[in-house]
């Protein structure tokens, strides 16, 4: 590694600091708001004049928020696992195999990814009610999987395309069936891609607001972003800034931890796919 001059060190430190500051300031603001008392919310200073844990104790002792948090995590994980499994299979087929209807499949995935969700909410709601899925975990998991599949298929087909054909051919020459070739040779190499896809799909489910608020009615299946809509202040007119900020921080913390552990994977995953020359 080349020697870094003090001047270079200074400029890289500045660059790093700028990136970190710009990324974190709005998050720090939320943090600061979450510690402000209702009176301190009034003053525009960045840090609270009066600190309180009240907002956090309020939401963390209330099942009205804890249960939605659990729902978010559970629904997110289950949807991600199912979506990645299904997407892997389909992406492998797209990237590797020849079969009719491939363009149709890709077109359908594109259509689903591009169609405005707002128009689909009402008919989907009607179906879910008819099937008894309203306000249940599967009621959110199934749409999340369906809407996460296009994303998953694209990402994974890019990764699968990356893996050289020779490996599979060699495995087949050694007598493996396509299935065995997939499991023993391809899948391990596609793991970074699968992890990346899993992360992307999980974040999309975690983030969703419209479906969460439309397909749930009680904390049985309501997720965290929707739960924030149910916080109330001292009166019908008071906006509970403190609790909302505290809730926003709480639903961000898992993401921060997540990113902290997986940042290598995320970046490695996205950069292992090379660009088409």
């Amino acid at each position: 590694m080349a020697v870094i001059t003090p001047r270079q060190r200074a400029s890289w430190t500045t660059a790093n600091f700028v990136v970190i500051a710009l990324a974190m300031i709005p998050v720090l603001w939320l943090l600061s708001l979450s510690f402000k008392t209702p009176a301190a919310v009034l003053d525009p200073s960045f840090w609270p004049a009066q600190w309180t844990w009240g907002n956090y104790s309020g939401i963390l002792t209330s099942s009205q928020f804890l249960r939605p948090l659990v729902n978010s995590i559970g629904i997110g994980i289950i949807s991600t696992v199912i979506a990645v499994v299904l997407a892997s299979m389909a992406a492998y087929a797209i990237a590797r195999l020849r079969f009719p209807g491939k363009t149709v499949l890709i077109g359908m995935a594109l259509l689903i990814a591009m169609f405005p969700l707002i128009a689909l909410v009402t008919p989907l709601f009607t179906i879910e009610r008819a099937l008894g899925l309203f306000n249940t975990w599967p009621g959110l998991i199934i749409p999340y999987v369906a809407f996460g599949l296009p994303l998953g298929i694209y990402t994974l087909s890019a990764f699968f395309r990356e893996i050289p054909w020779e490996l599979e051919k060699a495995a087949k020459m050694d007598g493996a069936t396509p299935f065995q070739a997939f499991i023993r040779v391809i899948a391990p190499l596609a793991t970074p891609g699968m992890v990346t896809t899993a992360i992307l799909v999980f974040l999309a489910c975690w983030n969703d607001f419209l479906l969460a608020i439309s397909f749930t009615s009680t904390i049985d299946s309501r997720t965290a972003p929707a739960a924030m809509q149910y916080f109330s202040g001292g009166s019908v007119f008071t906006v509970p800034t403190g609790p909302i900020a505290a809730a926003a921080v709480v639903i961000t913390i898992p993401i921060i931890i997540f990113v902290l552990f997986f940042q290598r994977r995320i970046v490695a995953g996205l950069t292992s796919g090379a660009v088409k020359g």
Partner: protein, 454 residues
């Protein structure tokens, strides 16, 4: 929902691997096979099914008392829980009321209810409706009319305008639970005698501005329902109305022009808070508590809030009736509040009527008034000393309520309200005659279900 596409694209023809070492071919790759993943998927699938089964189990009915689902905004006070517990007990085992929360915002509440009622959801029994929703819900058949003895009980001792909000096509579709109306709140240290009309109030404020004292007039000017409420109050106080009696066309006219002139006058005077066009009830309250304002037109929730947040200022925090438009003619303040309705798809309508009547009886309304800060709809409560401690302004409220105006009643009220609020907010953009003309045109379209909402 999927708000980020991924998209690294395919392989480079350059970055070709030279193949895996022979030693690795055909052997199990270190530590990773598809096996665990498949098992995980099956486990996940079972978990899903189990969760679904469990949630279905929870809903299975026992042989005991009927559960009535009561949907209301989230009440942070114990008033609702107390009422629910009381009424479940008083039913003598016939029913238990289950309090289900709706989102905090009024729009969110309506969307939840509408979505489920339009799908004929039978799991809603009693709902707390905002006073503007009855026409819409009744026209669509989502709520049941009150008849017979239930009707008589609902009407007894209830404040007339509150009852009026729940009427549609001559029938009563809900029973008023709580109500709300605005008063003029002012700083007695700045203004010894409160103004009686809008012109006086604006003049007072301008004088205070010249003297360099706090002088803002706080009112809700954001582009939302609160602005429509303000406009409705002004038009009715000027002697007019927004819609005609059977909601077939807009009336507006000269009273509307007068109302808009006053609103415009406020917006262009130094008395207007610079944030007027973004303010809702809460921001008005905060500005008053911060000491920058001299007058405030707001609901009584500001009184206990000021007491708690700024005890110093609270000493000179007084109230008066809402200023009138024409001297000598009292203002007709728009009435708000919540009415309880029975769902048209409820499986226990009889019990639901009884439960609703209990939930809003005098005792429960008194608790809600004292603990929850929402004024009652039963007239005799305003003479009940138990109310006076928390409502020193009870006489002014009762007077305002009895002379109140309601918002226009039409199934398409939401659209009408959006059209109005978008025309009058920000208030500095009002042009009295021009705005009235646009408003009349848009409301006409809305009543015929034509055109878009902004």
């Amino acid at each position: 929902m999927i708000d980020d596409g991924s998209g690294t694209v395919a392989s480079a023809r350059r970055a070709r691997w030279r193949g895996m070492p022979r030693s690795l071919r055909g052997t199990a790759p270190p530590g990773r096979t598809r096996g665990p993943r498949w098992r995980l998927a099956i486990a996940a699938g079972s978990a899903v099914l189990a969760a679904a089964a469990l949630s279905a189990c929870g809903a299975a009915s026992a042989g005991g008392p009927v559960t009535l689902n009561f949907y209301l905004y989230p009440d942070t006070s114990v008033a609702t829980q107390t009422a629910v517990a009381n009424c479940s007990k008083q039913s003598n085992g016939q029913y238990t009321i289950s309090y289900q929360q709706l989102p905090q915002g009024s729009d969110g509440q309506r969307q939840q209810l509408v979505r489920r009622l339009a799908a004929h959801d039978g799991s809603i029994d009693i709902m707390g409706l905002d006073v503007t929703w009855e026409a819409e819900f009744a026209q669509a058949g989502w709520i049941e009319p009150w008849t017979g003895s239930y009707l008589a009980q609902a009407q007894a001792d209830t404040i007339k305008p509150a009852l009026e909000t729940a009427m549609w096509n001559g029938k009563l579709y809900a029973v008023p639970d709580n109500t709300n109306t605005q008063l003029l709140w002012y700083r007695s240290d700045l203004v010894p005698t409160p103004p009686a009309t809008w012109s006086e109030m604006i003049a007072d404020a301008e004088q205070l501005a010249k003297a360099g004292k706090p002088h803002y007039i706080e009112i809700q000017g954001a582009q939302y329902e609160g602005a429509t409420v303000w406009f409705n109050t002004m038009v009715n106080s000027a002697g007019g109305s927004i819609l005609n009696a059977n909601a077939t066309s807009p009336t507006l006219g000269a009273p509307a022009v007068q109302a808009l002139s006053i609103m415009k006058q406020l917006a262009s005077s130094p008395a207007a808070d610079p944030s007027l066009s973004v303010q809702m009830e809460n921001q008005n309250r905060l500005a008053m508590e911060a000491g920058t304002a001299a007058f405030e037109l707001n609901y009584p929730f500001v009184y206990p809030a000021m007491k708690a947040d700024n005890p110093q200022l609270f000493k000179s925090f007084k109230w008066a009736p809402y200023p009138s438009v024409t001297a000598g003619v009292p203002a007709k303040v728009t009435i708000g509040g919540i009415d309880l309705a029975v769902s048209g798809y409820s499986k226990h309508q009889n019990l639901a009527f009884q439960a609703a009547l209990c939930l809003r009886d005098a005792q429960n309304q008194l608790t809600a008034a004292n603990v929850g800060g929402v004024p009652p709809t039963i007239a005799s409560l305003y003479n009940n000393p138990a109310l006076f401690a928390n409502y020193p302004f009870h006489a002014d409220i009762l007077q305002a309520l009895q002379n109140a105006s309601v918002r226009p009643k039409a199934p398409v009220y939401q659209v009408v309200s959006i059209d109005i609020s978008h025309l009058i907010s920000p208030p500095r953009g009002i042009d009295p005659t021009g705005t009235v003309a646009s408003m009349a045109g848009q409301i006409t379209n809305a009543l015929q279900s034509k055109g878009l909402v902004p």
